[in-house]
Protein backbone atom coordinates (compact mmCIF):
# COMPACT_ATOMS: atom_id res chain seq x y z
CA UNK A 1 0.00 0.00 0.00
CA UNK A 2 1.15 3.57 -0.70
CA UNK A 3 1.23 6.15 2.07
CA UNK A 4 -1.97 7.69 0.70
CA UNK A 5 -3.77 4.34 0.70
CA UNK A 6 -2.59 3.58 4.22
CA UNK A 7 -3.64 7.01 5.43
CA UNK A 8 -7.13 6.68 3.93
CA UNK A 9 -7.48 3.20 5.33
CA UNK A 10 -6.45 4.32 8.80
CA UNK A 11 -8.86 7.28 8.83
CA UNK A 12 -11.72 5.20 7.41
CA UNK A 13 -11.99 3.86 10.97
CA UNK A 14 -13.69 7.07 12.06
CA UNK A 15 -17.06 8.04 10.67
CA UNK A 16 -19.96 10.18 11.67
CA UNK A 17 -22.82 8.51 13.51
CA UNK A 18 -25.60 7.01 11.38
CA UNK A 19 -28.09 9.19 13.23
CA UNK A 20 -26.68 12.39 11.76
CA UNK A 21 -29.17 12.61 8.89
CA UNK A 22 -32.01 12.61 11.44
CA UNK A 23 -30.81 15.97 12.67
CA UNK A 24 -31.22 17.68 9.30
CA UNK A 25 -34.79 18.68 10.09
CA UNK A 26 -33.67 20.24 13.34
CA UNK A 27 -30.94 22.12 11.47
CA UNK A 28 -33.36 23.55 8.93
CA UNK A 29 -35.60 24.83 11.68
CA UNK A 30 -32.66 26.43 13.46
CA UNK A 31 -31.65 28.16 10.28
CA UNK A 32 -35.15 29.57 9.68
CA UNK A 33 -35.17 30.89 13.20
CA UNK A 34 -31.83 32.58 12.58
CA UNK A 35 -33.14 34.20 9.42
CA UNK A 36 -36.21 35.43 11.27
CA UNK A 37 -34.05 36.93 14.00
CA UNK A 38 -31.91 38.66 11.43
CA UNK A 39 -35.04 40.13 9.81
CA UNK A 40 -36.18 41.50 13.15
CA UNK A 41 -32.74 43.01 13.67
CA UNK A 42 -32.80 44.67 10.25
CA UNK A 43 -36.21 46.19 10.93
CA UNK A 44 -34.99 47.54 14.27
CA UNK A 45 -31.96 49.13 12.62
CA UNK A 46 -34.16 50.74 9.93
CA UNK A 47 -36.41 52.27 12.56
CA UNK A 48 -33.40 53.64 14.41
CA UNK A 49 -31.88 55.07 11.25
CA UNK A 50 -35.18 56.65 10.16
CA UNK A 51 -35.64 58.09 13.63
CA UNK A 52 -32.11 59.45 13.64
CA UNK A 53 -32.37 61.13 10.28
CA UNK A 54 -35.70 62.73 11.19
CA UNK A 55 -34.17 64.28 14.28
CA UNK A 56 -31.17 65.49 12.29
CA UNK A 57 -33.41 67.06 9.64
CA UNK A 58 -35.74 68.71 12.12
CA UNK A 59 -33.01 70.15 14.26
CA UNK A 60 -30.91 71.24 11.26
CA UNK A 61 -27.67 70.23 12.93
CA UNK A 62 -25.55 72.05 10.40
CA UNK A 63 -23.42 69.02 9.49
CA UNK A 64 -20.33 69.21 7.34
CA UNK A 65 -19.86 66.77 4.47
CA UNK A 66 -16.36 65.65 3.60
CA UNK A 67 -14.86 63.19 1.14
CA UNK A 68 -11.97 61.36 2.78
CA UNK A 69 -9.63 58.48 1.95
CA UNK A 70 -10.00 55.82 4.62
CA UNK A 71 -8.73 52.29 5.11
CA UNK A 72 -11.83 50.10 5.19
CA UNK A 73 -11.32 46.32 5.50
CA UNK A 74 -7.75 46.65 4.28
CA UNK A 75 -8.64 48.67 1.16
CA UNK A 76 -8.02 52.38 0.75
CA UNK A 77 -11.50 53.67 0.04
CA UNK A 78 -12.97 57.07 -0.75
CA UNK A 79 -15.80 57.72 1.69
CA UNK A 80 -18.28 60.58 1.92
CA UNK A 81 -18.87 61.43 5.54
CA UNK A 82 -21.45 63.75 7.07
CA UNK A 83 -20.22 64.99 10.44
CA UNK A 84 -23.08 66.30 12.54
CA UNK A 85 -22.72 68.79 15.33
CA UNK A 86 -24.33 66.33 17.74
CA UNK A 87 -21.21 64.13 17.55
CA UNK A 88 -22.65 61.63 15.09
CA UNK A 89 -21.63 60.79 11.54
CA UNK A 90 -23.05 58.99 8.52
CA UNK A 91 -20.63 57.55 6.01
CA UNK A 92 -21.18 56.19 2.51
CA UNK A 93 -18.63 54.33 0.41
CA UNK A 94 -18.30 51.63 -2.22
CA UNK A 95 -16.85 48.35 -0.97
CA UNK A 96 -14.25 46.24 -2.80
CA UNK A 97 -17.01 44.54 -4.83
CA UNK A 98 -18.51 47.86 -5.93
CA UNK A 99 -21.54 47.71 -3.64
CA UNK A 100 -22.67 50.89 -1.92
CA UNK A 101 -22.28 50.60 1.84
CA UNK A 102 -23.40 52.85 4.65
CA UNK A 103 -22.05 53.12 8.13
CA UNK A 104 -22.91 55.47 10.95
CA UNK A 105 -22.01 56.13 14.53
CA UNK A 106 -20.93 58.77 16.95
CA UNK A 107 -20.51 59.45 20.59
CA UNK A 108 -19.90 61.89 23.38
CA UNK A 109 -16.90 62.82 25.49
CA UNK A 110 -16.93 63.94 29.11
CA UNK A 111 -15.49 67.29 30.15
CA UNK A 112 -13.43 67.68 33.33
CA UNK A 113 -16.51 68.97 35.16
CA UNK A 114 -18.42 65.81 34.25
CA UNK A 115 -20.60 67.44 31.59
CA UNK A 116 -21.03 65.80 28.21
CA UNK A 117 -20.02 67.20 24.86
CA UNK A 118 -20.38 65.79 21.35
CA UNK A 119 -17.28 64.29 19.75
CA UNK A 120 -15.50 66.64 17.37
CA UNK A 121 -14.84 65.84 13.70
CA UNK A 122 -11.19 65.16 14.52
CA UNK A 123 -12.11 62.75 17.32
CA UNK A 124 -14.55 60.94 15.03
CA UNK A 125 -11.84 60.58 12.38
CA UNK A 126 -9.52 59.08 15.02
CA UNK A 127 -12.26 56.57 15.83
CA UNK A 128 -12.55 55.65 12.16
CA UNK A 129 -8.81 54.88 12.12
CA UNK A 130 -9.23 52.36 14.95
CA UNK A 131 -8.63 48.67 14.20
CA UNK A 132 -11.66 46.68 13.11
CA UNK A 133 -12.24 43.08 14.29
CA UNK A 134 -14.37 41.03 11.91
CA UNK A 135 -15.87 37.56 12.28
CA UNK A 136 -16.29 36.16 8.78
CA UNK A 137 -18.91 33.73 7.50
CA UNK A 138 -16.28 30.98 7.17
CA UNK A 139 -15.52 31.15 10.91
CA UNK A 140 -12.24 33.00 10.53
CA UNK A 141 -11.44 36.10 12.60
CA UNK A 142 -9.54 39.08 11.15
CA UNK A 143 -8.16 42.39 12.30
CA UNK A 144 -8.22 45.20 9.74
CA UNK A 145 -5.87 48.08 10.51
CA UNK A 146 -4.94 50.58 7.82
CA UNK A 147 -3.59 48.44 4.93
CA UNK A 148 -3.13 45.37 7.13
CA UNK A 149 -5.34 42.30 7.28
CA UNK A 150 -4.32 39.93 10.08
CA UNK A 151 -5.79 36.43 10.49
CA UNK A 152 -6.17 35.83 14.25
CA UNK A 153 -8.37 32.72 14.01
CA UNK A 154 -5.68 30.51 15.58
CA UNK A 155 -4.50 33.02 18.15
CA UNK A 156 -7.28 32.67 20.73
CA UNK A 157 -6.54 30.93 23.98
CA UNK A 158 -9.50 30.49 26.33
CA UNK A 159 -11.41 32.91 24.08
CA UNK A 160 -8.81 35.66 24.57
CA UNK A 161 -6.37 36.87 21.95
CA UNK A 162 -3.48 39.33 22.42
CA UNK A 163 -2.12 41.04 19.31
CA UNK A 164 0.38 43.82 18.77
CA UNK A 165 -0.31 45.99 15.72
CA UNK A 166 1.44 49.00 14.26
CA UNK A 167 0.70 51.58 11.58
CA UNK A 168 4.39 52.48 11.24
CA UNK A 169 4.16 55.37 13.70
CA UNK A 170 2.30 53.98 16.68
CA UNK A 171 2.12 50.51 18.19
CA UNK A 172 -1.13 49.31 19.70
CA UNK A 173 -1.59 46.42 22.11
CA UNK A 174 -4.96 44.76 21.48
CA UNK A 175 -6.87 42.38 23.72
CA UNK A 176 -9.76 40.66 21.94
CA UNK A 177 -12.44 38.58 23.62
CA UNK A 178 -13.92 36.07 21.19
CA UNK A 179 -17.19 37.59 19.90
CA UNK A 180 -17.26 39.80 22.96
CA UNK A 181 -15.50 43.03 22.10
CA UNK A 182 -11.93 44.27 22.21
CA UNK A 183 -9.79 46.98 23.76
CA UNK A 184 -6.44 48.52 22.84
CA UNK A 185 -3.77 50.65 24.45
CA UNK A 186 -0.48 52.19 23.22
CA UNK A 187 1.23 51.11 26.48
CA UNK A 188 0.21 47.54 27.40
CA UNK A 189 -2.36 44.83 26.75
CA UNK A 190 -5.62 45.83 28.46
CA UNK A 191 -6.80 43.27 30.98
CA UNK A 192 -9.74 41.20 29.65
CA UNK A 193 -11.68 42.02 32.82
CA UNK A 194 -11.31 45.77 32.20
CA UNK A 195 -13.85 45.90 29.36
CA UNK A 196 -17.30 44.50 28.52
Amino acid sequence: MTNREKYKQAFSAIHISDEFSLEVRKMTNTSKKQKFNRMVAVIAVCVLLAGGSTVAYAADLGGIQRTIQLWIHGNQTEATIDFNTDGSYEMEYFDSEGNAAQQGGGGVAFNADGSERPLTEEELLDLLDDPDVRYEDDGSVWIYYFDQKIDITDKFDDNICYVQISNGEETLYMTIKYQNGWSSSPNKYPSPSSFN
Partner: protein
Protein backbone atom coordinates in the same frame (compact mmCIF):
# COMPACT_ATOMS: atom_id res chain seq x y z
CA UNK B 1 -24.37 27.72 -8.18
CA UNK B 2 -26.01 26.25 -5.08
CA UNK B 3 -26.78 22.66 -4.18
CA UNK B 4 -29.51 21.45 -1.81
CA UNK B 5 -28.04 20.98 1.65
CA UNK B 6 -29.44 17.44 1.88
CA UNK B 7 -27.36 16.45 -1.17
CA UNK B 8 -24.23 18.03 0.30
CA UNK B 9 -24.78 16.35 3.67
CA UNK B 10 -25.06 12.96 2.03
CA UNK B 11 -21.90 13.53 -0.03
CA UNK B 12 -19.61 15.33 2.38
CA UNK B 13 -20.76 14.76 5.96
CA UNK B 14 -18.14 12.11 6.58
CA UNK B 15 -15.27 14.09 5.03
CA UNK B 16 -16.21 17.11 7.12
CA UNK B 17 -16.54 14.97 10.22
CA UNK B 18 -13.08 13.44 9.69
CA UNK B 19 -11.34 16.81 9.17
CA UNK B 20 -13.22 18.23 12.19
CA UNK B 21 -12.14 15.23 14.27
CA UNK B 22 -8.60 15.72 13.02
CA UNK B 23 -8.62 19.24 14.52
CA UNK B 24 -10.79 18.68 17.64
CA UNK B 25 -9.68 15.12 18.52
CA UNK B 26 -13.15 14.63 19.93
CA UNK B 27 -16.16 12.86 18.39
CA UNK B 28 -18.89 15.02 19.94
CA UNK B 29 -17.17 18.29 19.05
CA UNK B 30 -16.60 17.00 15.52
CA UNK B 31 -20.31 16.23 15.10
CA UNK B 32 -21.18 19.70 16.35
CA UNK B 33 -18.80 21.16 13.79
CA UNK B 34 -20.52 19.20 11.00
CA UNK B 35 -23.89 20.61 12.13
CA UNK B 36 -22.52 24.14 12.39
CA UNK B 37 -20.85 23.92 8.99
CA UNK B 38 -24.06 22.94 7.19
CA UNK B 39 -26.04 25.55 9.13
CA UNK B 40 -23.50 28.10 7.90
CA UNK B 41 -24.08 26.89 4.33
CA UNK B 42 -27.85 27.35 4.71
CA UNK B 43 -27.45 30.74 6.40
CA UNK B 44 -25.34 32.49 3.78
CA UNK B 45 -26.36 33.45 0.27
CA UNK B 46 -22.93 32.86 -1.20
CA UNK B 47 -22.91 31.82 -4.83
CA UNK B 48 -20.36 29.13 -5.69
CA UNK B 49 -18.56 28.59 -8.98
CA UNK B 50 -18.42 24.79 -8.99
CA UNK B 51 -19.15 21.86 -6.73
CA UNK B 52 -15.42 21.65 -5.95
CA UNK B 53 -15.67 25.25 -4.77
CA UNK B 54 -18.51 24.25 -2.41
CA UNK B 55 -16.51 21.27 -1.12
CA UNK B 56 -13.41 23.42 -0.47
CA UNK B 57 -15.56 26.07 1.25
CA UNK B 58 -17.22 23.47 3.51
CA UNK B 59 -13.82 22.07 4.48
CA UNK B 60 -12.43 25.54 5.20
CA UNK B 61 -15.46 26.45 7.33
CA UNK B 62 -15.23 23.14 9.20
CA UNK B 63 -11.52 23.67 9.97
CA UNK B 64 -12.16 27.20 11.27
CA UNK B 65 -15.14 26.11 13.35
CA UNK B 66 -13.17 23.20 14.78
CA UNK B 67 -10.32 25.57 15.71
CA UNK B 68 -12.84 27.89 17.34
CA UNK B 69 -14.16 24.94 19.35
CA UNK B 70 -10.65 24.15 20.54
CA UNK B 71 -10.37 27.74 21.74
CA UNK B 72 -13.44 27.66 23.95
CA UNK B 73 -12.93 27.19 27.65
CA UNK B 74 -15.94 24.91 28.04
CA UNK B 75 -14.75 22.32 25.57
CA UNK B 76 -16.65 19.14 26.10
CA UNK B 77 -13.80 16.68 25.79
CA UNK B 78 -16.18 14.03 27.04
CA UNK B 79 -14.03 11.18 25.79
CA UNK B 80 -10.21 11.34 25.74
CA UNK B 81 -8.63 10.38 22.41
CA UNK B 82 -7.04 7.26 23.90
CA UNK B 83 -10.43 5.95 25.05
CA UNK B 84 -11.99 6.78 21.70
CA UNK B 85 -9.19 4.95 19.88
CA UNK B 86 -9.85 1.79 21.85
CA UNK B 87 -13.32 1.65 20.30
CA UNK B 88 -12.03 2.04 16.73
CA UNK B 89 -11.64 -0.90 14.40
CA UNK B 90 -8.76 -0.61 11.96
CA UNK B 91 -9.26 -2.91 9.01
CA UNK B 92 -6.69 -3.36 6.28
CA UNK B 93 -8.03 -3.64 2.74
CA UNK B 94 -5.46 -6.25 1.81
CA UNK B 95 -5.81 -8.71 4.62
CA UNK B 96 -7.26 -9.03 8.04
CA UNK B 97 -3.91 -9.75 9.62
CA UNK B 98 -3.61 -8.12 12.99
CA UNK B 99 -0.11 -6.78 12.18
CA UNK B 100 -1.54 -4.62 9.39
CA UNK B 101 -4.38 -3.46 11.58
CA UNK B 102 -1.93 -2.44 14.26
CA UNK B 103 0.11 -0.54 11.66
CA UNK B 104 -2.96 1.45 10.68
CA UNK B 105 -3.75 2.08 14.32
CA UNK B 106 -0.18 3.26 14.87
CA UNK B 107 -0.40 5.53 11.82
CA UNK B 108 -3.66 7.06 13.09
CA UNK B 109 -2.25 7.64 16.55
CA UNK B 110 0.99 9.15 15.23
CA UNK B 111 -0.87 11.56 12.95
CA UNK B 112 -3.10 12.64 15.83
CA UNK B 113 -0.01 13.36 17.92
CA UNK B 114 1.39 15.78 15.33
CA UNK B 115 0.82 19.45 16.02
CA UNK B 116 -2.36 20.78 14.45
CA UNK B 117 -0.68 22.80 11.69
CA UNK B 118 1.10 19.71 10.32
CA UNK B 119 -1.86 17.40 10.91
CA UNK B 120 -4.32 19.49 8.89
CA UNK B 121 -2.01 19.87 5.90
CA UNK B 122 -1.12 16.15 5.94
CA UNK B 123 -4.83 15.28 6.09
CA UNK B 124 -5.85 17.56 3.22
CA UNK B 125 -3.03 16.10 1.10
CA UNK B 126 -3.38 12.38 1.85
CA UNK B 127 -7.08 12.04 2.65
CA UNK B 128 -8.75 14.76 0.58
CA UNK B 129 -6.24 14.48 -2.32
CA UNK B 130 -5.78 18.24 -2.53
CA UNK B 131 -2.70 19.67 -4.24
CA UNK B 132 -0.29 21.99 -2.44
CA UNK B 133 -1.81 25.00 -4.26
CA UNK B 134 -5.35 23.98 -3.33
CA UNK B 135 -4.37 23.51 0.33
CA UNK B 136 -2.81 26.99 0.34
CA UNK B 137 -6.07 28.38 -1.01
CA UNK B 138 -8.22 26.55 1.56
CA UNK B 139 -6.05 27.49 4.55
CA UNK B 140 -5.28 31.00 3.23
CA UNK B 141 -1.55 30.51 3.72
CA UNK B 142 1.28 30.66 1.19
CA UNK B 143 2.21 27.73 -1.05
CA UNK B 144 5.72 27.65 0.43
CA UNK B 145 4.23 27.49 3.92
CA UNK B 146 2.15 24.46 2.88
CA UNK B 147 5.25 22.79 1.42
CA UNK B 148 7.20 23.35 4.64
CA UNK B 149 4.37 21.97 6.82
CA UNK B 150 3.90 18.98 4.54
CA UNK B 151 7.61 18.22 4.49
CA UNK B 152 8.00 18.52 8.29
CA UNK B 153 4.84 16.51 8.89
CA UNK B 154 6.10 13.71 6.65
CA UNK B 155 9.49 13.72 8.32
CA UNK B 156 7.91 13.43 11.77
CA UNK B 157 5.73 10.54 10.57
CA UNK B 158 8.78 8.79 9.09
CA UNK B 159 10.78 9.24 12.27
CA UNK B 160 8.11 7.53 14.37
CA UNK B 161 6.61 5.05 11.94
CA UNK B 162 9.91 3.94 10.30
CA UNK B 163 9.11 1.45 7.55
CA UNK B 164 5.33 1.86 7.89
CA UNK B 165 5.63 5.30 6.28
CA UNK B 166 7.66 5.37 3.04
CA UNK B 167 9.73 8.34 1.94
CA UNK B 168 7.45 9.79 -0.76
CA UNK B 169 8.82 13.36 -1.00
Amino acid sequence: MRQPVEVLIEKYKNNIYVIAFNVCKNAQDAEDVVQDTFIQYISIKKDFETEQHIRAWLIRVAINKAKNKNNTFFRRNTLPLEDYMEALIFESSESSESSESSELSELFETVMKLSEKYRVVIHLFYYEDYSVNEIADILKISVSNVKVRLSRGRRLLRETLKEVWENDE
